[in-house]
Symmetry: C2
Subunit: 404 residues, 2 copies
């Protein structure tokens, strides 16, 4: 090996850190641990029998194309199927040029950084917000500005103050990064009124809005507010979608919806990043949508996750001591816990591992290092009974820490 | 949409250019055109029946894991199967920590730029060399230094002079990028002696060597010289492998072999780029190797491509006028044509399209803009008869241009 590897690394590689969550997950993979730390779909959510049928069907009907390179923009069949899905579910009228396929929405987050961010550029996000976004933007040197959430999501008053402050400093943020539905990690959904306030500010300050939307389909009750993209209607919003939480993460299929001139830049970047996404899995995804399996399986998954959420909320109510609070998400995969005054989720972590229960530190979702008294809990992955037992253990850990 | 999109782009996105080849390919997709421009495997090379069987088998035996996220490093089953392949075929003794899976070798090229290159850093490559590499490194601002090839590949005397020149200028190249087997675009293979010369220089100047190896398995006659990685034996070589030319590009599976500390950096970067490669296709790939289908199908593909190469060489000999020369590759997908003195492949291109035949301009593979009198021809994709007819048409175009 060459003498000094560290010396030949690029600046970004020198400063790159491994994902705290991915590294934590390794710690928590001992079978005796009940882990709330991941963000995985339930193993029983995967439609294995249907996938067997569709894999064979794709190879029989379009085998050669499924094995060959695809267009960089994505498989036309899948793009059309997604356009139809958004027409039916969201009332969007998308053209082919408004949607491209990515290798997971993590790739879309990476491309946002690559296409829009130079070192020192401002990006506005929630406080807390999705760690995968924070890391993708940080890799390009983004200066993250966090806006606190209330129970309606990103606070519009604080967003306005931040945009004004940046404007006075001669800075225009490259985009406002939002997860409006069942936010990761907070589990909060923006109502229509708040969405309109955020969009009004985006127009006033001429800033792009990113609507990261991996969980929107997973609503357990009530009705989704309109998408930011739909409310805006002016292509000032870029939507990131993915099959990872609503179908199968193992396919690594995501998509970007937006203005065609902007998408054109993403396509150029994708040519250098991986040329195209797997044709085979894209074609299976298209059949899965077109044959109605997507909607049918989704209903099954929603019922499953609703039950898991309800069980976890009931367990929290039963076991947690006074002073602990949590969000009650209407959908998605996560809820967010706030510990009693002054308690530190990081200090608590080794004690939790001792009692064979794990979570993600809330602080990793806060770009300013705050949120030390918070933790994210996933309820989609483990069986209901394990989730209940895990909450009981976690409550014990917290009670013991309260005693001092 | 925001008022001035151009204004919010990152510096790299502002300067990014679409792949000349991908754009050309769009032009050449009219059915009447015989195109030598792509680099696609033959449609009849894909083992569709086996893939049907293996897809079902994966979903039956490991369905849940195939649908779930995989480790960022790649599916352990596939990594083990590849280690076994390199042990058997190349006599390499790799540990798990010496190999990671990427989403195609284009992603590996991108990661090389991301992990090692800052704007202005020197990278040494062949003159000509693979365009996908040039573009990936250019995206990170690499300053490319091309070394002319002779019939043994990259010239060692010129490489030494370049390394010395850079050293005097206080610059150490981040790596030497090579395609030692059936080079793209030139079709040239480095004999063992040249490999040793290149490695000796890499050690003398303490520079990393990249061995990009997508075609090595596609040898039509004779024996492969040892891999650079094997000859080196000191992990100063990084190998890029891929299924794209020897199995199916539609899976987007590649791999990187190298020193574990360096691979660790690639893993960190992959977490932000796409988290992991599709578990489903990785598991199919592992079964394909483990059950012996890989070797069996490869023999069939080699026979097929050998016949296509022979037919194209015979057609060139029959139809091309005096003054045109070409390489005679012992394997791979491409051969490289040099036109008579002063003829410009770019000027010839519209005339070729008029006669319904297409190629790639050799100049796009030259980082210094030279090679205007060259063109790359692919012989793997089209049926033999079309290749012969295409060469007849191309010879006509050249003859007419020679007349003036």
């Amino acid at each position: 090996m060459i003498k000094d590897l560290q010396n030949i690394l690029s600046r970004s590689a020198k400063s790159a850190k491994k994902s705290a969550i991915r590294e934590l997950l390794k710690l928590t993979q001992r079978p005796e641990i009940i882990s709330f730390a991941g963000g995985l779909p339930a193993p029983e959510s995967f439609p294995l029998e249907i996938l067997k049928k569709l894999s064979v069907e794709v190879l029989e009907k379009e085998g050669t194309a499924a094995c060959q390179y695809s267009m960089t923009e994505g498989d036309n069949g899948l793009r059309k199927a997604l356009i139809e899905k958004y027409r039916k579910d969201e009332g969007l009228e998308l053209a082919m040029e408004n949607i491209i396929i990515t290798t997971s929405s993590q790739q879309a987050l990476d491309f946002l950084g690559r296409v829009l961010v130079d070192p020192g550029d401002a990006v506005v996000c929630g406080l807390p917000t999705y760690l995968g976004g924070l890391q993708a933007f940080a890799a390009y040197g983004a200066e993250m500005h966090g806006i606190k959430l209330d129970d309606k999501g990103m606070r519009a008053d604080l967003l306005k103050a931040k945009l004004e402050e940046l404007k006075k400093a001669g800075k225009k943020p490259k985009f406002i990064y939002t997860v409006p539905d069942f936010q990761n990690p907070a589990g909060i959904t923006m109502p229509e009124s708040r969405r309109k306030e955020i969009l009004a500010l985006a127009h006033e300050y001429d800033v792009l809005v990113v609507e990261d939307s991996p969980y929107r389909e997973l609503r357990f009750e009530g009705k989704n507010p309109p998408m930011l993209y739909k409310l805006d209607g002016k292509e000032q919003v870029v939507v990131l979608g993915t099959f990872s939480k609503i179908f199968v993460p193992g396919f690594r299929i995501g998509w970007i919806i937006g203005n065609k001139d902007l998408l054109d830049k993403f396509v150029t970047v994708k040519q250098a990043a991986d040329l195209c996404t797997s044709s085979f899995v894209q074609k299976i995804g298209a059949l899965y949508l077109n044959q109605g399996h997507f909607d049918a399986n989704l209903q099954r998954v929603i019922a499953m996750y609703r039950e898991k959420r309800d069980a976890m909320l009931a367990a929290l109510k039963e076991h947690m001591p006074k002073g602990v609070s949590w969000t009650c998400p209407e959908g998605g995969l996560f809820l967010f816990v706030t510990l009693p005054d002054g308690m530190d989720a990081e200090k608590l972590f080794p004690k939790a591992i001792e009692k064979n229960v794990a979570y993600v530190l809330g602080s990793v979702f806060h770009c300013d290092g705050s949120g030390r008294d918070t933790m994210r809990l996933n309820f989609s992955f483990a069986p209901k009974e394990k989730n209940i037992e895990g909450i009981r253990r976690l409550a014990e850990v917290i009670k013991e820490a309260m005693k001092g």
